[in-house]
């Protein structure tokens, strides 16, 4: 009985391995689209002529030095007294 169970399980395992090896995936090597036949259903809402609204191009200025305080001048003035 034991021998029979071992034999059966071995057969089942070998079958399972055998099935995995047989799977072959294949992809399409070439597909053809006939664009002339394609049809899109819907309503045409685009304007008749192409127009682009002109807008000012954003320009970036270099960070030019612009004085915001005279702290260094204050220090120098105080030092110039004595």
């Amino acid at each position: 009985m034991r021998i029979f169970i071992y034999a059966l399980s071995m057969v089942m395992i070998s079958n399972a391995f055998g099935q995995e090896e047989k799977v072959i995936y294949q992809y399409k090597k070439y597909e053809k689209f006939d664009l002339g036949n394609l049809e899109v259903k819907g309503q045409l809402i685009a304007p008749g002529d192409i127009s682009v609204r002109e807008r000012e191009r954003r320009r970036f200025e270099l960070d030019l030095f612009s004085r915001k305080d005279f702290d260094a001048f204050i220090k120098k003035d105080v030092e110039s007294l004595r």
Partner: protein, 468 residues
């Protein structure tokens, strides 16, 4: 430390001299004071008093001595020694030192104890405002400037001589200008202009303020007025006042008016004329960086002895000589020299040998101080040049970029060179208008405005084909 050594050596000797005096009740320092040897007396005073309890008479005497010598000498003394003498003068000098060491609480405490009637009260308020500025307490800062102004004005009115009066006028003006600078910092430009306008044209500070006022007008968007103020520096009366920052601001103002060619002219002039001179000067000065007397001697060098590249040095030196600090230090050196001469002529050998070396040391310290201040001023001036050079280079790049954009957009500026027009001059009801006839008039200085129209409007470029 040096002072401590001298102090101890004199401590042993002074009783001997005191015994030689005819009137034993008088101390040696009092005897020296009677003979008007104030600088020697001050040193002796400290030696006589520092080891014992101080009484009110001692403090009064110290204030009297400092009235003649000035407080510049106290800078060389140890703060721990000065703390023993709670007078307004010592508190002022200690407060100043605390501010320099960034000990703001201590500085406020010391400066707050300067008596309101004391001669350094106004200057103390000026320092106090600086402390508040560091603490970003702008409300208190403004209050301190106002207290400084009113005290300086009062002291000026009761000044004993013209020199002292001039000192208080200077303190008053610095406090007023600092108020203007405060308004500028908090973007109250109109108030800033009003405060600047209160400084009279004959004031020593006035030429310096043209640049600051020009910045205020620039920030207000009145580029014509900014350019007009900067033009004032071209006047023969102000030829010793050269500021690289003024050149930069002029180039920047032309740039804002889209007058690119004018801006480029200033930039090129800076690179071709000024920068090479600064570079050769820089080399010459750096060689003497560690000299103890080179910059002091430079202050007294005849203008004709200076090479052409040293022209800026001549200008800076002229400006430095007008500073209160220089006058005080130089005056102290003169008075010490006179005292040394009198001691040499009138005193016996023992006293001479003890007093003269100390005075010589004090004199050397004062000379070193002038040398250091002159060196600092000159190098600070030269340090601006690389910074402003790089800013002008950035401005140059920006102009090239703007010009390129115009070309790519097939556009050009409305005019190649905008011409002046009266309609472009902004002025208030108190400002009169005269045409510039190619000559600078002293009473007109500082009131110039250009009448340039902004050139920033663009027009589409017309091609040859379209033109036909």
């Amino acid at each position: 430390m040096k002072f401590s050594i001298i102090l101890f050596s004199f401590l042993v000797i002074s009783p001997v001299f005191a015994a030689d005096e005819k009137k034993p009740e008088k101390t040696f320092s009092q005897a020296l004071e009677d003979k008007k040897y104030y600088y020697s007396a001050l040193n002796e005073y400290f030696k006589e008093t520092y080891a014992r309890a101080i009484i009110n008479d001692d403090l009064k005497r110290l204030e009297d001595l400092l009235y003649y010598t000035g407080i510049e000498l106290l800078e060389d003394y140890e703060p721990s020694l000065l703390q023993k003498y709670p007078t307004s003068s010592t508190r002022f000098i200690l407060g100043r030192q605390a501010l320099q060491r960034k000990k703001y609480k201590e500085a406020l405490d010391l400066l707050g104890k300067v008596h309101p009637d004391h001669r350094y009260f106004a200057e103390g308020k000026l320092l106090e405002a600086q402390v508040y500025d560091q603490q970003k307490n702008y409300k208190q800062r403004l209050k301190s400037y106002e207290a400084c102004q009113s005290s300086a004005e009062k002291q000026e009115g009761s000044a004993q001589n013209e020199k002292i009066g001039r000192y208080y006028r200077m303190v008053y003006e610095i406090c007023l200008v600092n108020k203007a600078r405060h308004h500028f910092k908090v973007e109250e430009y109109k108030e800033a202009i009003d405060a600047y306008s209160k400084i009279p044209k004959k004031s020593y500070k006035w030429p310096y303020l043209l640049l600051e006022k020009a910045w205020v007008y620039y920030q207000m968007g009145d580029y014509n007025r900014a350019l007009g103020l900067l033009t004032t520096y071209k006047s023969p009366l102000l030829d010793t006042y050269f500021f690289p920052e003024a050149e930069y601001l002029a180039a920047l103002s032309y740039f804002r008016l889209c007058l690119y060619e004018d801006s480029l002219t200033i930039i090129n002039q800076f690179y071709q004329v000024y920068r090479p001179r600064f570079q050769s000067l820089d080399g010459m000065l750096k060689k003497n960086r560690n000299s103890q007397a080179f910059f002091y001697n430079l202050m007294f060098k005849d203008g004709e002895d200076l090479a052409k590249q040293e022209e800026f040095i001549k200008q800076i030196v002229t400006r430095m000589k007008k500073q209160t600090r220089f006058s005080l230090d130089f005056n102290a050196i003169h008075k010490i020299t006179q005292e040394m001469k009198r001691i040499e002529q009138n005193e016996k050998g023992v006293i001479k040998s003890k007093l003269v070396p100390h005075l010589a040391e004090v004199k050397d310290n004062m000379t070193a101080k002038i040398n250091y201040n002159a060196k600092t001023d000159i190098f600070q001036f030269l340090e601006q040049v690389p910074f402003l050079s790089s800013e002008l280079f950035k401005l140059n790049l920006e102009i090239i970029s703007r010009k390129k954009d115009l070309e790519y957009a097939n556009k050009k500026l409305i005019a190649d060179r905008s011409r002046g027009d009266y309609s472009n001059v902004q002025r208030n009801k108190f400002e009169y208008f005269w045409k510039f006839q190619g000559a600078f008039w002293a009473d007109e200085l500082g009131d110039y405005s250009l009448g340039l129209k902004s050139n920033c409007q663009t027009v589409r470029q017309v091609t040859e084909e379209e033109g036909e």
